[in-house]
C-alpha cells in the first residue's frame, strides 16, 4: 500500500531543514513525481511568483515505486514554475539518482528561498547539510562532479548538477545527472541557478526491497524474452532513441530546415543506425533497467564518452532542424550542452530558428557576432553554445532567451518562424505525421512535449498487436489507415493516452519501459507492479484518474496566471503541407485543429471557450481545494 510520503524541506534563506509527512490517503491521490510537486506548489506557493525569484519552489520528487528493481522505474521529476514558458514547469530525468533518493528514505526534496552564496545540498539518509559551493561555481558539470568526488573522498553518491547555463539562468538551462542525463526541459536548471544551488548530492544506500518478491519475479524473470518479442524495444536497445531518425526519414517526416521540410538530403549520415555502426562506444542503462537504450559515443577531439551520446531529439535539433549532416558536430553539440547544462532540444531548435532568420536576412552577421548562421553550418555550434551558456552580450544573450522570447525582440517576421508552444520549442515529431501531437503540443500545460501522449501510429496497428490492444484498454478507438488524420478519434486518443502519460510522470516511470502501446510493459503489468512492488491494489481506472488529476492541477495552476484557450495555439509552420516519402501530401488545417481542440476539451471536461476545467470536472477529481 501507499505509505505516508516523507518530504524534506530546505529553506535556503535561513539554511535550515525540516521533515514533513504527507498522509498516505492524500498521497494516494498525488502519488509522487509531478502530481506531488504540483500538490505542494499549489498548497504553498502563489503561481504568480517570478520564476527566478526566491519565492519560486523547486521540487525534486520520486514515487512509491521508485527504486524497486525492474526496468523503467528510476525517474525523478522536477516541478517548479518555468522561466521558459511562464507556466507550471515539469521535467523528468532517469539514471540512478532517483533510486538513490528513494533508498535514502525521501519522496520529495523541496527547495525554497535563495542561498546568499553558492551552496550544494548533501544528503545521507536523515543527515542533511547545506554546504558551501563557491569553489564549484563556474565549473562545467563534469568538473563539478570530479571536484565533488575529490572533496568527499569517494564516488559513492549520485548527483544532480547545474553548469554555467543554470548559473547564468539561461531560459532553457538543464539540471544534469551523471553528465549525460538531464532534467532538460522547461528551464528548471535556471531556477536552481537562481537559488544559488550548484548541486544536489545524495549518498548511495541499500536499494528498496519489493513487498512481494515472488510476485515481482513474474514480471522480471522473463524480461529477455519479453524484449526479444518486441520489435520496437529490440530497435531501441540496438540504436537507442536515435533510431527514430531512420524511421522518420524513411517516411519523409524528418523535421528539417527549421520545419520547412520533412526531409534532408544525406540524413543517413546522422541516423541512429549510422551512430551504432560508426561512433557508438557502448550502451548504458538506468538503475535496474534491462533495455540499455542510452548510447555513449566517442569521436576523438569532438566527443568524449563521459558525456554520453545524442538522443533522437538531439540528432534532430542539431541535425535536420539546422540542415546539418555532420555527425561529429551533432555529437560535439550534445557534449557541450551537457557540459554547460542546457537543454539540447531548445538549444538546437533555437539555433535552427536563428539560422532561418539569418537566411531570410532578419538576423545579420553584425547581430550574430560575425557568425555565418547558414543552414548546414554546424561549425558554429561550438561557439554559439558557449556564448549562450555564458549569456554573452550579443547573439549569446539573445539566443539564451529561447526562440519565442528572442523573436519578440526582432519583430513579426521573426516570430512567424518560431516553432514553439507556450514558448517551449517543439520536439522532433511532425504534427503532419502524428496529428494528435498537434493537440498535445498546443494544449499541454508546460509547452510542447512529445512524451505527454502516445503517438498516432498505434492506431494503425493490426488488431492482434499490443500497439492496438493496449491503448484500447484505456478507451475505445477507431482504426486509422493513413497519416495526417486529425479528427474526433484522435482527440479521444490524445486525451486518454495523455492521462496515462501524466500518471507515468507521477509514478516516475520511464516511457520506454512502461506505456500504453509499444513499450516493454503495459497497463495490466503496471497494475501488477503496483501490487507486487508496494502492495497497492489499484486499477487502470484509478491510475488514469491520477493522471487526469495531475493534468487538471496543471491547467488550474496556469488558469491562475490567465492562461486559457487563447494560449493553446500552434505556430504557423504546423500547417505547412509536407510531401512525404510516398509522394503524397500530409497537412492539417487551422479549422481542423480548432474543431478537434474543442472535441479534446469536451473529452477532458473543460470549458470549450476557455479551456479551463469545469466545476464538475474539478469536483469529480477532488480538486475544489485548488
Amino acid at each position: 500500500m501507499i505509505k505516508d510520503a516523507r518530504i524534506l524541506y530546505v529553506d535556503l534563506n535561513t539554511k535550515t531543514t525540516e521533515v514533513k509527512t504527507l498522509d498516505a490517503e492524500t498521497y494516494r491521490k498525488y502519488p509522487g513525481g509531478s502530481a506531488l510537486g504540483l500538490y505542494l506548489m499549489l498548497k504553498e506557493m502563489d503561481p504568480k511568483v517570478d520564476p527566478l525569484s526566491p519565492e519560486n519552489m523547486l521540487i525534486f520528487s520520486v514515487s512509491p515505486l521508485t527504486g524497486i528493481p525492474i526496468s523503467g522505474q528510476s525517474r525523478m521529476c522536477v516541478t517548479t514554475k518555468s522561466p521558459l514558458t511562464g507556466t507550471v514547469g515539469d521535467s523528468q530525468v532517469g539514471g540512478f539518482i532517483p533510486a538513490v533518493v528513494k533508498a535514502n528514505g525521501w519522496d520529495a526534496i523541496v527547495l525554497k528561498g535563495k542561498a546568499d552564496k553558492p551552496v550544494y545540498l548533501y544528503i545521507e539518509k536523515d543527515k542533511v547539510e547545506i554546504r558551501d559551493a563557491q569553489h564549484l561555481w563556474g565549473k562545467i558539470t563534469g568538473d563539478t562532479e570530479d571536484a565533488l568526488i575529490k572533496e568527499l573522498g569517494h564516488d559513492k553518491f549520485e548527483s544532480s548538477i547545474i553548469g554555467p547555463g543554470g548559473e547564468n539562468m539561461v531560459s532553457y538551462a538543464a539540471i544534469m545527472h551523471r553528465r549525460s542525463r538531464a532534467n532538460g526541459r522547461n528551464g528548471v536548471g535556471a531556477v536552481m541557478g537562481s537559488k544559488n544551488v550548484k548541486a544536489l548530492v545524495v549518498r548511495n544506500a541499500r536499494p528498496v526491497v519489493p513487498e512481494d518478491q515472488a510476485g515481482m519475479k513474474t514480471l522480471t524473470l522473463n524480461v529477455k524474452e519479453r524484449m526479444a518479442a518486441n520489435d520496437t524495444i529490440v530497435d531501441t536497445a540496438l540504436n537507442g532513441s536515435a533510431g527514430c531518425v531512420d524511421g522518420h526519414a524513411a517516411e519523409g517526416f524528418l523535421p528539417s530546415y527549421n520545419w520547412e521540410k520533412g526531409m534532408m538530403d544525406d540524413w543517413i549520415k546522422t541516423a541512429g543506425t549510422t551512430i551504432t555502426e560508426t561512433v557508438l562506444k557502448k550502451r548504458e542503462t538506468c538503475f535496474g533497467c534491462a533495455i540499455r537504450c542510452k548510447g555513449v559515443v566517442e569521436i576523438p577531439g569532438k566527443a568524449d564518452p563521459e558525456y554520453g551520446g545524442p538522443e533522437y531529439e538531439t540528432c534532430a535539433t542539431f541535425g535536420c532542424y539546422c540542415g546539418n549532416t555532420d555527425l561529429g558536430d551533432i555529437c560535439q553539440a550534445n557534449q557541450l550542452c551537457n557540459m554547460y547544462g542546457i537543454d539540447t532540444i531548445s538549444c538546437g531548435a533555437t539555433i535552427a530558428w536563428a539560422m532561418d532568420c539569418f537566411e531570410k536576412g532578419i538576423l545579420t552577421a553584425k547581430q550574430t557576432d560575425g557568425l555565418e548562421l547558414k543552414f548546414g553550418n554546424g561549425k558554429v555550434f561550438e561557439e554559439l553554445i558557449k556564448k549562450i551558456a555564458r549569456k554573452e552580450k550579443g547573439i549569446g544573450e539573445l539566443l539564451a532567451k529561447g526562440s519565442a522570447a528572442a523573436a519578440k525582440t526582432l519583430g513579426k517576421e521573426a516570430e512567424d518562424l518560431v516553432v514553439a508552444c507556450k514558448g517551449q520549442e517543439w520536439p522532433a515529431h511532425m504534427v503532419q505525421f502524428k496529428p494528435n501531437l498537434a493537440l498535445n503540443y498546443a494544449a499541454n500545460p508546460f509547452g510542447a512535449d512529445h512524451q505527454s501522449s502516445e503517438h498516432d501510429p498505434a492506431l494503425m496497428a493490426p488488431d492482434d498487436d499490443q500497439n492496438w490492444l493496449w491503448p484500447n484498454m484505456l478507451d475505445t478507438f477507431e482504426k486509422c489507415d493513413s497519416y495526417g488524420i486529425l479528427d474526433d478519434n484522435k482527440a479521444r486518443f490524445a486525451y486518454a493516452t495523455q492521462k496515462f502519460y501524466a500518471m507515468m510522470d507521477t509514478l516516475c516511470l520511464c516511457q520506454f519501459a512502461w506505456g500504453p502501446a509499444w513499450q516493454l510493459y503495459g497497463p495490466k503489468e503496471l497494475v501488477e507492479f503496483c501490487k507486487y512492488g508496494i502492495g497497492w491494489d489499484t486499477s487502470v481506472e484509478e491510475l488514469q484518474e491520477i493522471g487526469e488529476r495531475r493534468i487538471n492541477m496543471m491547467r488550474l495552476f496556469n488558469q491562475k496566471l490567465g492562461f486559457s484557450r487563447k494560449d493553446d495555439i500552434l505556430p504557423k509552420k504546423a500547417f505547412l503541407p509536407v510531401e512525404y516519402a510516398e509522394g503524397e501530401i500530409a497537412q492539417i488545417t487551422p479549422q481542423q485543429f480548432e474543431d478537434t481542440l474543442t472535441t479534446y476539451y469536451r473529452y477532458a471536461g473543460w470549458d470549450v471557450e476557455t479551456g479551463n476545467p469545469t466545476p464538475e470536472t474539478i469536483k469529480r477529481l477532488g480538486l475544489e481545494w485548488v
Binding site: C244, P457, A458, D481
Partner: protein, 64 residues
C-alpha cells in the same frame, strides 16, 4: 509478379510472404493492408502475396 505497393507498381518475387516484403523494405514494424483488408500480425509470416495485389504499408513509429 507485379503488385501495387502504396500506389506504386512494383515487381516482387513469386511466393513472397508479407514478412519477407517487410524485411525487404526494412520495415521492422508496420501495418499492412492487402486489397483493402488489414492483416493480423499473426498472418505476416505465412501470408503469400499474389500477383496484382494492392498493398498498403504504413510504418508504426513510436515516440522517443
Amino acid at each position: 509478379m507485379l503488385v501495387t505497393i502504396n500506389k506504386k507498381e512494383t515487381q516482387l518475387e513469386e511466393g513472397m510472404t508479407v514478412s519477407q516484403l517487410l524485411q525487404l523494405r526494412n520495415l521492422r514494424k508496420a501495418a499492412v493492408w492487402i486489397n483493402g483488408k488489414q492483416l493480423m500480425l499473426a498472418d505476416y509470416e505465412s501470408w503469400k502475396i499474389q500477383e496484382g495485389d494492392n498493398i498498403k504499408l504504413l510504418r508504426i513509429m513510436a515516440g522517443g
